[in-house]
């Protein structure tokens, strides 16, 4: 039965066919589970023509949701930048007891599911929560209002900037900064002229990821916002509301704006990755 010859003649033929088969399978599966759902969002959003699409986007509640989502992103970004740089500087440039523990706590939000984060916030600020009675006495409104949405968004997006900047600061070391200090630069000058230019792409990368997440966060925000129509509804929550109203085309119109943002983020990510490598 030609035991030696069979593998020799079979192997090359198999080698040519197997890659084609695997590539075909990979492309088909990706089309089915990633590409079609993505295309479907735009198809459904525009299924009744552009006029209806525009009308859906311009609906007062949806416009307000877009506005609120923008406000949340604009408030959280500078806080995330400052805290991210601070944390990275602290951990990369100094040694102190509890340094590893601090890093673990900073990264903790990545291991806690956002919906659980929302539950934690409610257990803290809710009516029967830890601080609930104090807040009620002082007539301070955190839950079901902008402060709650901002706080929980900060929880969910907190680690992004530090996670991008810290490894870079550690890899670069502090020689340049030490040299600048010896030459008489002030601390602020060192940061602006030496540190910031060195970390700018990582900083931008972290900022893009954090903002994308702030705009798209659903679970955590849905618990603390109360989803009050036209008041505390962010754009992702508005999608659910329209979906529950059976206004499917309206829901897809809202979803398509978030999808566009996601695609822009992907392009930005690719550009920044090209810069840093």
């Amino acid at each position: 039965m030609m035991p030696a010859a069979t593998p020799a003649t079979l192997a090359p033929r198999q080698d040519r066919r197997a890659p084609l088969l695997l590539i075909g399978l990979a492309v088909a599966l990706t089309l089915f589970i990633v590409v079609v759902p993505l295309a479907y969002i735009f198809w459904r959003a525009l299924s009744q023509g552009f006029a209806v699409f525009a009308q859906n986007i311009m609906a007062p509640d949806t416009l307000h949701a877009i506005w609120l989502t923008t406000v949340v992103a604009v408030i959280t970004l500078p806080i995330n930048l400052v805290v991210g740089i601070s944390a990275a500087w602290l951990i990369a440039r100094f040694t102190f007891p509890g340094r590893k523990l601090l890093l673990t706590i900073i990264e903790l939000p990545f291991s806690i599911s956002p919906i659980i984060a929302g539950v934690c916030y409610l257990l803290l600020y809710g009516r029967q929560g830890l601080l609930g009675p104090t807040l009620a006495a002082g007539d301070i409104k955190i839950l079901f209002a902008l402060p709650g949405i901002v706080l929980v968004t900060l929880f969910v997006t907190g680690p992004f900037v530090a996670r991008e900047v810290l490894p870079l600061m550690q890899a670069q070391g502090s020689e340049q900064e030490q040299a600048a200090l010896t030459l008489g630069a002030s601390g602020w000058q060192v940061f602006r002229r030496v540190t910031l230019p060195n970390i700018r792409w990582a900083l931008l990368y972290g900022a893009v990821l954090a903002t994308a997440r702030a705009v798209g966060e659903f679970g955590a925000v849905s618990v603390v916002s109360g989803a009050i129509r036209g008041q505390t509804n962010t754009l992702p929550l508005q999608i659910e509301l329209l979906f529950n109203d059976l206004n499917i085309v309206g829901a897809f119109a809202a979803a398509s704006t978030l999808t566009l943002i996601a695609l822009v983020v992907l392009v930005l990510k690719t550009i920044i990755e090209g810069r840093t490598r």
């Binding site: 695997l22 993505l38 803290l124 999608i239």
Partner: protein, 285 residues
Amino acid sequence: MSVAAVIDAPARRQKRVLPGFGLTMGLTLTYVGIIVLLPVIALVLKGAEIGPVRFWDIVTAPRTLAALRLTITAAALATVFNALYGLLMAWVLVRYRFPGRRLLDAMMDIPFALPTAVAGLALTALFSENGWYGAILAPAGISVVYTIWGVAIAMTFTSIPFVVRTVQPILEDLDHSQEEAARTLGATPFQIFARVIFPAILPAFLIGTTIAFARSLGEFGAVIFIAGNLPMKTEIASLLAVIRLEEYDYNGAAAIALTLVAIALVLLALSNWLQARLTRRRVPA
């Protein structure tokens, strides 16, 4: 001034040449304290307040058990698919050159970039009876929306990138000499994969799979659209925690949330342990 402070002093003076220790420490601790620790402490305190007996009663109540069972089963289904699909994608993207490869690679980032509510909406509409997929599946008697399969599909979509993105770099760095040795010794392509390549990427593969499973367990946004959220049937555990909150049953919410956090932390510890093993093994090589 303790002895420890005196011993520490020279090291500290040396390190604190750079300015900003007090400022960055203050900012970081303020952030960590208010944003991260305070809410987590609220959860732990609430959990401690319940007491072990009541805690056990809540977690083993039929509705909680059904929710946990659904969440874990659906997450396991999603993870099995993603493990196989992720391995296939990593292999195809690293080992073959073909037109459209970079685009295919970029597609792997879509599920992370897309907000989960958007993914949930799109999948629900696609798989509902008059959607593109649902219209094909319905005549075959397969319904996805409002079943465990819907939950699993939503979880699958949002955790697609984990296995691909952890296996890909390891596969890229893999030394080809062992494969060539195996080939000259007469191993078939399948034998080479099973005996040479797979053992080398196994730790990364397991890390990716573990994170994908953890993410699936925690997924909320995509799932609630497609699940229908019927108590005892298609209600995931995290949704039950939120429902308990809305009923002002803070104890019930805290007990379920703590259970989910505990599972997540065990999975995190597992992936860290695998990571440590992976780096240990890679350093000498």
